[in-house]
Symmetry: C2
Subunit: 341 residues, 2 copies
């Protein structure tokens, strides 16, 4: 029996050669607003339905990322996509438009990280040359699907997060372009469930999953410690979940520092009345595909651990009294010279 493989290590680097995000008006007004490629003028359906708006955002995010990478959809070997809509219909209809081979993914708000891992594994192992990854969410389609009719205006507790309206996409290639960062490996997350049943406290549900993945990475990667990273960026724990993650790390002897950040705490300002921060599959997807790549190109970050976090609830599992299974996938993004394997 061979040794179990806890950490994914790619035999060749997979370059992130393009990224783009289309967001909603609230995200545009946030601190990262200028980094996004385009914003909807208003949240209400620009098309005939909110769902069609989300589909259109996702198509536009992928095609913008492809344009930036100067790659046509016909040259893609594969498209890995998912979203929060039932039956991931934003990804399905995007794949219909792209006409590329398609793997539909669902790990809730960890879907972007999942897609990066699956696509990078397929390319880094030599099976394919290039692919695109996307994930999206839309405040109006999510709120009515997961919680209450949007028009009801239900009051939210302070632990609640605001579902991001945004679609993010990245293009991955075996060949580098203009000093692009690359994915060198990661960790496929396990489901962790400590019994949180409140869908308005998803940060608390997801923090133990983020911790589990971070702990597995630093236990088994054999090369790096937390200090070796400029940034350890979770997807959408929000301020509530982020503080729980720091507490778990402290208890278990993982040294934390200012490099521990959360995308859900970056996307909105405290003045935007979002309570604990942003969430949704589009949160990490939008932030990582634009703002983060810009900062990497400016030289601010050289080695990053992305930790996408997902709460694997459904309205029916909550109504039936189940707790919230959660997951976190880690993706290692590096810059500069590629080290020999």
């Amino acid at each position: 029996m061979n040794q179990k493989t806890e950490v994914l290590s790619l035999s060749r680097p997979v370059y992130i050669v393009g990224g783009a995000a289309i967001v909603g008006p609230k995200e545009k007004k946030g601190p990262l607003g200028d980094d996004f490629d385009k914003a909807l003028e208003h949240l209400g359906p620009a098309k005939d339905s909110w769902e069609n708006s989300e589909i259109e955002m996702t198509v536009e995010a992928v095609t913008t990322a492809l344009n930036k990478a100067k790659i046509s959809a016909e040259d893609l070997d594969l498209f890995c996509g998912g979203d929060l809509l039932n039956q991931i219909c934003a990804a399905n209809f995007t794949a219909r438009k792209l006409k590329t081979p398609f793997l539909g993914l669902y790990n809730a708000c960890a879907t972007m990280a999942e897609g990066l891992l699956v696509c990078a594994a397929m390319i880094g192992s030599g099976l394919f040359q290039r692919g695109a990854v996307s994930a999206s969410s839309h405040n109006a389609t999510s709120e009515r699907q997961y919680r209450f009719p949007t028009e009801l205006g239900v009051q939210r507790p302070m632990t609640a997060q605001w579902t991001v309206t945004g679609a993010g996409a990245m293009v991955l290639d075996v060949e580098s372009k203009e000093n692009c960062p690359y994915i060198s490996g990661g960790v496929i997350g396990r489901v962790v469930d400590l019994g949180v049943k409140d869908p308005n406290a998803m940060g608390a549900a997801m923090a133990p999953a983020a911790f589990d993945t971070i702990q597995r990475y630093f236990t088994y990667n054999g090369a790096y410690q937390p200090d070796d990273f400029d940034l350890i960026l979770t997807g959408d724990l929000g301020s509530h979940g982020h503080s729980i993650l720091l507490e778990l790390c402290k208890r278990e002897g993982i040294a934390t520092g200012p490099q521990f950040q959360d995308s859900g705490m970056w996307i909105y300002s405290n003045k935007q009345d979002v309570h604990a921060g942003g969430s949704g599959a589009g949160c990490s997807a939008s932030v990582w595909s634009t703002h983060l790549l810009h900062e990497v190109r400016k030289g601010k970050y050289k080695r990053i651990l992305l930790v996408g976090t997902g709460a694997l609830l459904s309205p029916i599992t909550i109504q039936q009294g189940n707790s919230i299974p959660s997951i976190a996938h880690a993706v290692v993004v590096e810059t500069g010279e590629v080290k020999p394997c």
Copy 2:
């Protein structure tokens, strides 16, 4: 720019070392009934809800397949799973039970084929050693989610298919056990949508996707013609979709023969009042994980092209007037001596 990769070709074979399926009472009474590992006594919730029944079936299918392969869940590098429930909750809760690294997948009824491709690619490329794949559906959870309240007893047209109550699972390993068949490659499907809008004619929606994938495989695989396969087995086209696939092949010059079969036409007898046959992610998953593997071990089939078919609709996309995007993934299963790459 490198050549685009249409056909996935694994550099080493990935062995199917175990398979199991748990089904409902109707599937047990069908022609393949004796092949399934266990059947529910009645469709109504054995547990406190239909959804929990589906979760329990999926857990049991995976653990039974693992037992047959003499592999413990702790030794799995990864679990690839999905189902038809919103937010794939049967797979999520199965992953919670297994505690293994988890990739959640959704390509509707093509999810088993998608899982086999993703898991085989991860193992065949040397990234991991062993994994499990599952897919499931449940007639009662699906009907009320996709169509009408079950108690309403709505009449169905003759093109409609019967959603299979079943969970199927396979265990894949880089090491062979007792003359197991192996996965050597496949094709990741593209989304095809010829405009079918009737959710009671999913075979018609999916047949062009099955044709597209079969045509791509035989155009680009460079080794095999349709006659080289003992079996070209679609997932759940049903009798209506199967006849459309044969017609499309005839028109486009792909030689068909008795080796073209459909899992949805195998699982029920004509006397079971299922109209066009079986469907649902559990249809191909249950048939392939048990009956098919048994026949392969008996020597009936030596080279098989599995073509999982999925209709990527959601109730909301149908209500909003969209047509049904469809997809088909192909998986090549072979027996006997492994040819050098």
